[in-house]
Point group: C2
Chain length 324, copies 2
Amino acid sequence: MVTIEDVAKKAGVSTATVSRVINNVGNVSEKTKMKVWKAINELNYKPKILASALARHRERFLVGICESERLKNMEKEKIVPEFYTVILTALEQIGEEYGLKFCKMNLFSPTECDAYILVGGDTTKEVVEMYRELGKPFLLLDHYIPGEKVDCIVTNGFDGAYYATSYLIKKGLRKIFHIHGPLNSYGFKGRYDGYTSAMKEAGLLPKYYEYDDVKNNMDDVIEFMLRKNDIPEAIFASNDITAMRIIKELKKRNIKVPDEVSIIGFDDIISAKDFEPSLTTLKVFKDEMGSLAATRIYELLVGHNVHPVMVSLFTKFIKRKSSI
Amino acid sequence: MVTIEDVAKKAGVSTATVSRVINNVGNVSEKTKMKVWKAINELNYKPKILASALARHRERFLVGICESERLKNMEKEKIVPEFYTVILTALEQIGEEYGLKFCKMNLFSPTECDAYILVGGDTTKEVVEMYRELGKPFLLLDHYIPGEKVDCIVTNGFDGAYYATSYLIKKGLRKIFHIHGPLNSYGFKGRYDGYTSAMKEAGLLPKYYEYDDVKNNMDDVIEFMLRKNDIPEAIFASNDITAMRIIKELKKRNIKVPDEVSIIGFDDIISAKDFEPSLTTLKVFKDEMGSLAATRIYELLVGHNVHPVMVSLFTKFIKRKSSI
DNA sequence: TTGTACGCGTTATCAC
DNA sequence: GTGATAACGCGTACAA
């Protein structure tokens, strides 16, 4: 392994100078810079992020947590239960390990920071453009924008949905439906794809209904579904809230869960395990998302040319009483 | 930040003992273990991977690079050009930074190692099951298996395809076709999804043809396409080899590229820039895949309960002469 | 402008 | 069974 010391020796300077050249700080004469870069290239030296990060621990970076008003309100009204809190807690805890300080701000009017974490689905192409112009590293948390090649951390909805659907199929069920939110949301789209993919692979016909979260038209959706397709053997819902509303409507019509219809949700929100019946679901690791975000933003802050990636966390199937 | 020293002080032992307890090595009395765990929990201490990794550099891990015969033959016959070489080079270089040693072996009959990297698309559920039973960390490189929740590193075909298709649309083209390999391959499927997604969003009708890589039936595909849909304005191919074969067939029929038809490939294989005309394509960062694989397998080796994730690298659009 | 020396948090070696 | 301490590779006060 070639270290900074090897480079220093080869260039005939001290390790301090090499470090200064690499990180482009302090005053180094052009002549010395040339010598150092030459040595670096000849030895094919790559700085070790690990050691660098450790040594930089004294450095304090300020990272902006950027949220839209809409998201904050959803938090407040418990539509997106505990999401924000859990993420932020993990983010701050792991961030501390890297010497990160966090600072909340509005997504659309960020204040000066060393880096930014853009939370939730309200980040558009235009917003990304704005952050690009700030010239600081940033990443999307729980969101992805096709074609923009911007670093992001998301939950792998496809995989979870595929697993849940396959599970129901393996249990011998055939008439498995999917009720989902708007498919322009990346999260819902992935789950939809996972469901249809599993169904098609098993030679089954996917059947799905769109549900409007805001209007809460579950009554109509269920009514329509029952009239048109008779009773399904199972429904995979694109989140826990939706699953709970489905169960409520089924109960109203005296349809037994899970005896007549199995229901599976997505998220594992806190109330899922105390619901009646307790909800079978796919657990989303919000704390892991937070800690991954902290790790990633740190890499972007101190790493030399980091390639943009999408990191998607797998979910965990939690078997409870709402499904066979 | 709470360090190992804080824990040691609280438990009334040395840092060495705390380290021994955490990593479960050496001889520590049960009584001391209890004291240490108690202190760890009370302080909510989390070991710092960074420092741990740095200190462990002296340790040498042996990592198996597992490939199927099929893949090795494809390498040899240049069907998957330079893939193996580029990946392995980056893997070894970055791996060295972490004290990793690599050892090539057959995917289906691995020998004893500390961890494994399973290369390419021949890894099935059954193979995964076999590696799980080995009880060692492993990850898939350039492959993903739905529902298995196994760590993997892939290229984000969806994003690249979406970008390329959107690019053609923005240039004013409407009749954009897609010629793809078998969709049971994760890579081809993602690109297919990205293409159709971009087309649908623009209100255009996706049109695609499957091409059989092994039979090399490009002549038939092009013939069929031309007869049925007349001439497209552009074709997005699911890889460079396919793109080159398309161009060859079009040339044979005196159709000009890019004047009459724009062609975009995927991969940016070495020969892409010397092809006539040079190929517009989406560059896959093989070296980055290798280095990410090294980093990730190291995290799996030394990290405490690492959550499984899929890391997908964004591609880069390379504009050359085969497209407008 | 450059070099010396210390510290980042953890693990491993060697005493006891 | 346990403790003191020297590494690991790099960044940066401070000195020169």
